[in-house]
Amino acid sequence: MSHPTFDSVSVGDKLPELTSAPISRTTLALYGGASGDHNPIHVDIDFAKSHGMPDVFAHGMLSMAYLGRMLTNWVPQCQLRSFSNRFGSITNLQDKIHCNGTIVEKLEQDGEKLVRVEINAANQDGDIKLAGEALIALV
């Protein structure tokens, strides 16, 4: 298996994309259990409606996990130095999440070669749900 190296990548390069399966109620039930996030707003339609939402909606951290999968498909996880994002709009049932990453900077910090990758996750209509960046060490 060959991994990207600092010299083999350029600013503007795209990471291999990742697309999730459509998010179902089952997806949310499994994620709620596995993540330990038992907030009923994600699994209990009665609770969601009583709090002004038309239906349950996805955990933001589920889509962040998809972004994490995109990153660790590209490089071994031990090279990940930081990973952050903002959550924009709510992700709804049946959304398919498309994860994208673009190298925006090559830098050296504390004697380590790094790339800064802009990342985002959007649904099938192109609505950006999450946007942020990751710092990744490359040798």
Binding site: A21, D37, N39, H51, L62, F83, F87
Partner: protein, 147 residues
């Protein structure tokens, strides 16, 4: 409005065990099929001590307490009005199945926007392992919608 006296509030530290079965369940729930996140032998062959904690899972183990929403309740916020605004992770050392991690969290800021229609709680968390090594920092922004 959330009482601003809570700025600086430190939550009691808590610890959580990193369990292989739970990591496999998380892999299933997030569509992860890479064997290093499922099979300990594959993880070891890739150079990890055991199955590694995936990039966002340290956030999850912070909820392994009797009441994961204690902070929300202490701030007198309705859980149904809460959204996740931002999340960041800074990694210093790997964390694998078999490790025990300890969380120390603090509310570092509370502010509002749109004439109080939205309030923001900023929480920072330091994560250490069973050897006392600083393994990661987490920062979360919790949004409370008042409309």
């Amino acid at each position: 409005m959330i009482d601003r006296k809570h700025i600086g509030l430190e939550m009691p530290p808590h610890s959580a065990d990193v369990e292989k079965g739970r990591l496999r369940f998380f892999a299933k729930a997030t569509g992860q099929t890479d064997p290093i996140y499922i099979d300990e032998q594959a993880a070891k062959a890739a150079g990890y001590r055991s199955i590694p904690v995936p990039p966002t899972f340290l956030f999850c183990l912070d909820m392994e307490v009797p009441n994961p929403f204690e902070l929300i309740e202490r701030l007198d916020v309705d859980l149904g009005k809460v959204l996740h605004g931002e999340q960041s992770f800074t990694y210093y050392k790997d964390v694998c199945a078999g490790d025990r991690v300890t969380y120390q969290s603090k509310v570092v800021d509370i502010f509002d926007k749109k004439d109080g229609a939205l309030e923001f709680i900023i929480k920072e968390t330091k994560v250490t392992n069973q050897d006392g090594d600083h393994v990661a920092d987490l920062k979360g922004v919790i949004v409370v919608r008042h409309q």
